[in-house]
Subunit: 252 residues, 2 copies
DNA sequence: GTAAAACGTGCAAGAATGTGCAAAACGAAT
DNA sequence: ATTCGTTTTGCACATTCTTGCACGTTTTAC
């Protein structure tokens, strides 16, 4: 049995059964489990499967990206979110960008806070469904499942019609020199547009994003007003942003 | 049984039954209750459920209106939905109106069907996030939490820019003389607009809506092409609609 | 108020996995 | 045919992960 033959049969079995067990494959192919594990490792590296304890599963079992992202660092993001909502005052109009942290912001919004939320993320709008005092404007457009947000020219046009007091900006990377940046050109365009239309910009960021630069620039540090971070961010980074005029808030 | 498989089945069971018992799950999976508790703990940490004494419940107990409506007549709506998706052909552009039945339609859409879905309901867009072949256009506007949809003049304007092959119309009442009607003026306006921009109109309706007239008219019977109903609708009603040129489909 | 059921925690056994390494198989060039 | 280098494979050992059990605590029911 050739290596590639095994790979092919594993792919087929995975598509047919929705899962494979390392022990089964070893018995079926008449090779050791070590070899099967090597196969699975390579297939996983190629994106053909996800390795789990005992075998492997298809790459996208549930909701691919959005649900997955929501599952990591939940408590961390909730803390960021509750710090962010403290910066929002009654009566304001707030742009809420897409992203799992910003979804947490929407969920953490006090029910007695009367604000207008403008967002291009359907999940954010749904999360605000039980906030009776909250007026929610959803910006439409072509829906990008990977980002969980609406992108495209129509979205940009609609955003340009709105002037907000505050923007809660999601970001893929934030750096003292480059500022905020995104992984995707379309996404960056939307974010740039939101920055343009907002008076104040708040960026919640987990430690892994500090000092990171993504390919597409969104805005320089000079346009950022508040940076909300977790306590595990180094103090030197905090000072660096503070020196550039950014108000840095650390969650407890 | 792999860990993630258990998690997945717990999620499914939770969505289907609205609750799970630790003892049931342990028996069903053939593992100890300790393991089930561990699973539930992880799912709860990921926000997929709330742990309660004896088992677990879905994370959002009562999201006001939308979630509540979803819980009633689930299997009935799923049957309607699977009948509706059979009327959709590859390559078509489909308006999907708001409403719990239409959300079921989106969820029941085959993953290998390549279509463009246009909707003003954020939940529908989110449900289509894991359909790689499905292009989703979300119509924005002011989000109405009670309806789970975007309403308002901007929504109307955006809908008027799109011409669809098919409309899956949600309705509050449908009658042989009055046609489809809605409980709300804004809502009716949106629906009217969608009918205007679509070539074919499909109306899935549960038995309680047949013969009902809501205050605000949407469209006459002459513009309805397909009526998808449950078997508990009387035959005389079926014949009445059929006599007016509507194709009536009964789910088994 | 008491008993039973459910729960959390720590722990140990067993299974699965990663890593390093050597033998075997294979191909190419001499 | 032989030799050298590469790839594949299986094995040994340390590590990690999962799971069930014991025991003390909390919650529920009667």
């Amino acid at each position: 049995m050739l290596t590639e033959e095994r790979h092919d049969r594993i792919r087929t079995k995975l598509a047919a059964d929705g899962r494979v067990l390392a022990s089964d494959l070893a018995a079926e192919f008449g090779v050791s489990e070590d070899t099967v594990r090597r196969d699975l490792r390579e297939l996983a590296r190629a994106g053909a499967c996800r390795r789990v304890y005992g075998g492997a599963l298809p790459p996208a079992p549930d909701l691919g990206t959005m649900t997955q992202r929501q599952e990591v660092m939940v408590e961390c993001k909730l803390k960021l979110a509750s710090a962010v909502v403290k910066l929002i005052s009654p009566g304001q109009t707030v742009f809420v960008d897409a992203g799992s942290t910003n979804l947490a912001v929407a969920q953490s919004l006090p029910k007695d806070l009367s604000v207008t939320i403008v967002t291009n993320a359907p999940a954010v709008a749904l999360a605000l469904a039980d906030h009776p005092l909250c007026r929610t404007i959803l910006i439409g457009g072509q829906f990008d499942p990977a980002k969980g947000a609406c992108l495209g020219s129509q979205t940009v046009r609609d955003i340009e019609r709105i002037h907000a007091d505050v923007l809660v900006l999601g970001t893929c990377g934030i750096d003292t020199r480059v500022g905020a940046s995104a992984l995707d050109a379309e996404e960056a365009e939307i974010k740039r547009c939101m920055v343009e239309q907002s008076r104040t910009v708040i960026v919640p960021a987990t430690a892994d994003k500090i000092g990171t630069v993504a390919p597409f620039a969104v805005t320089g540090v000079d346009r950022l007003d508040h940076l909300v971070i977790t306590p595990d961010v180094g103090l030197e980074a905090v000072d660096a942003f503070a020196a550039l005029g950014v108000h840095v808030h650390r969650t407890p």
